[in-house]
């Protein structure tokens, strides 16, 4: 997925429909991330000013949630579920095999790809599960995940 580069004007446009939302900070951050693929540092001040909350409040929310990111995402994304139901059908072994095949470590960031631990996609009867570039994969194998 490709995103436009950060611009304060575009971000202002993204935020303007949210003016009347009650409790807007998380929604505002999600909207910025949806538009630009991440939350640029200048978005913090913009959101604080737009909704009349402190920068500390916005920063607090931004750093609390796993989904929110402060740098652009690599082009490719692999998330492997490592929660209990997937562990029972070999997600630990899957992670090791994917790391070996790609020569990369889980939960570390690379320029071209991101391999992350995930905690449940609700596909627990067809595990191990993975999400590859936004697509849910059941009965995941090294081949399916790295295809």
């Amino acid at each position: 997925m490709s995103y436009p580069s950060w611009s304060i004007e575009e971000a202002t446009r993204v935020l303007s429909p949210l003016k009347n939302v009650q409790g807007p900070v998380l929604i505002a951050l999600q909207a910025v991330q949806e538009r630009f693929g991440y939350v640029h540092e200048d978005a913090v001040g913009l959101i604080a000013e737009t909704f009349n909350v402190s920068r500390a409040d916005v920063h607090g929310v931004l750093t609390y949630y796993h989904d929110l990111r402060t740098s652009p995402a690599p082009a490719r994304s692999i998330q492997i579920c490592v929660a209990e139901a997937c562990q029972s059908v070999g997600s630990r072994e899957l992670v090791t095999a994917v790391e070996k095949k790609l020569g990369k470590k889980i939960d570390e960031t690379y320029a071209d790809i991101e391999i992350k631990s995930a905690y449940c996609f609700g596909n627990c009867a067809l595990g191990p599960s993975a999400m590859v570039d936004g697509e849910l994969i059941g009965r995941a194998s090294v081949e399916k995940v790295t295809a």
Binding site: A83, A85, S88, V89, Y119, G122, A125, L136
Partner: protein, 514 residues
């Protein structure tokens, strides 16, 4: 005449190829000049049979599964459009033992209908409850829900009617109904399937709750890991608004009710109701102390009904068919049905709705068929990451709130995860602590710091360092977490840890492998 074929559009089914199967059926039909109508229904819940293709015949729906993309051409060769014999033929769907043994109430329409067809929904008994509710006053509806014995399906098991009565009796200019669809427990997916397969049931349940207590605004807090459910829910709300089920006049009544989906941002603890409220208010998902109860001062400080998806989705049936019909099912103080989810290392995984009181043995073996790997079953975790690990001596336990508590566990959201004999319970216990460390909101010290110390201590036990002393220390830490944490995150993380130690002591002997 066009032949109707059902191919699920559930995200689990799609994860193993349902979209390809649907596309290939359409292509093959064109190639063979056959007139077919493909309906993308929700899953029937037998995820082990996905992709489950059904053909509507004069006898009823005939099932084929699990269908792989490469099977499609041979299905046509076998004349499956007339219900022809094929190696994947399962006969009439209703007669498959796995379905026939269930008692579907909350899941009555799941998998039967096109999820976004309001016409299908009404043809299968939808909106009967809401139509009845708008003719009743709030106390009548609340009394019905109370009499049904319906309890919170999110995990705590609190009686829904009592919660609703508190909100009904709280004077306020604004009240809310919030649906907790932050289904973060590993091994659970019943909320997701309900929303993807039959979203109008949830809308109807929430509307009944709103009409009962005088709430005019509702929110569905849905986790970001469920993109298909988010889209489906939003589409269903738009359709319901257009049809006048939601909006300024619910089904032409004096009641207004608007509904909005708010998407989570990857925080497990936001499934705890007060953390969810904070998140709905756009803040960090840090839990609140209670009191005040959310029923008195909840979202934006106003009286708020918070219920899980399955609780609210059970309400239409309770109102439509009456409290007595619902309460006739179940056992003791666990009345009605529970939507169990069979997951993990299981041969026949999926959703089993049945009255409370079924044994774990029946769920795991009769329905589940044992482990997927074929190796001996060693452990079963019930109730998600905060639930207990049981060994095979517990298979006789009755699946209801009280019996599971008496056995040292909890029902939670009804997830049942199987592990074969390759599992190492010390590793599972360590994972429970690590998950708590990762997801703790940080408010309570025993949870925030204790979880990290707990994982370290279990690692010491695994490595054989001073094992008896570290086991004692771990048990002491578990007590501090249980007693010193405000919510279930820190309070119940000791449950998987201690149950693993109690039920599988041989895994905690420090290096000496079994």
């Amino acid at each position: 005449m066009s032949t109707v074929i059902y191919v699920p559009n559930d995200s689990a089914a799609i994860s193993i190829g349902a979209d390809q199967v649907a596309a290939l059926i359409a292509q093959e039909a064109v190639k063979r000049s056959l007139d077919v109508t493909i309906i993308r229904n929700g899953t029937r819940g037998a995820l082990w049979l996905e992709t489950l293709v059904e053909v509507l015949t004069s006898q009823g729906r005939i099932a084929y599964g699990p269908v792989q993309p490469e099977d499609v051409s041979s299905l046509f060769d076998s004349d499956f459009l007339q219900g022809g014999a094929h190696k994947l033929s399962l006969g009439l769907t209703e007669e498959i033992a796995w379905f026939a043994g269930q008692d579907r109430v909350t899941y009555k329409r799941v998998g039967l209908i096109d999820p976004l067809s309001l016409k299908d929904y009404e043809a299968h008994g939808g909106l009967v409850g809401l139509r009845k509710a708008i003719t009743q006053n709030g106390s009548e509806i609340v009394a019905e829900v109370t009499a049904s014995g319906l309890r919170g399906r999110g995990g705590a098991g609190f009686p829904a009617g009592i919660k609703w009565k508190t909100v009904l009796d709280a004077p306020a200019d604004q009240k809310y109904v919030c649906c907790n669809a932050d289904e973060g427990d590993s091994g659970t997916f019943a909320d997701r399937i309900l929303i993807e397969a039959d979203p109008f049931t949830l809308i109807e349940g929430m509307a009944i709750a709103a009409v009962a207590v005088g709430a005019t605004q509702g929110f569905v807090y849905l986790r970001s890991e469920y993109p298909t459910a988010i889209t489906r829910m939003r589409d269903a709300i738009a359709i319901a608004e257009k049809a006048g089920v939601l909006g300024s006049s619910v089904l032409g009544s004096k009641h207004a009710f608007n509904l909005e989906v708010r998407v989570g941002a990857g925080s497990y603890v936001c499934g705890e109701e007060t953390a969810m409220l904070e998140s709905l208010e756009g803040k960090r998902g840090v839990i609140r102390s209670k009191p005040p109860l959310p029923a008195i001062a909840g979202l934006f400080g106003k009286p708020t009904i918070i219920n899980n998806v399955l609780t609210l989705a059970s309400v239409p049936a309770v109102i439509a068919d009456g409290a007595a019909a619902y309460a006739a099912r179940g056992t003791g103080r666990s009345l009605g049905t529970q939507v169990f989810q069979l997951a993990g290392n299981i041969a026949r995984g999926g959703v089993i709705e049945t009255a409370f009181g079924i044994t774990l043995e029946t769920l795991v073996h009769t329905f589940g068929g044992g482990t997927l790997s074929g190796k001996p079953l060693r452990a079963v975790q019930i109730g998600g990451p905060l639930g207990a690990y049981f060994n095979s001596s517990h298979l006789g336990v009755s699946m209801d709130y009280e019996s599971l508590a008496a056995a040292g566990g909890m029902l939670g959201h009804g997830g049942v995860v199987l592990f074969d004999d390759s599992v190492d319970l010390a590793q599972q216990a360590k994972f429970a602590m690590e998950f708590c460390a990762l997801e703790s909101c940080g408010k309570c010290t025993p949870c925030r710091l204790g979880s990290t110390r707990g994982a370290e201590t279990i690692q010491k036990i695994i490595s054989g360092v001073d094992v008896p002393a570290n086991k004692l220390l771990l048990l002491d830490l578990c007590d501090v977490m249980t007693d010193g944490s405000l919510c279930a995150m820190g309070g119940l993380t000791p449950l998987p840890v201690k149950s693993a130690m109690n039920n599988f002591p041989e895994d905690f002997t420090g290096g000496a492998k079994k």
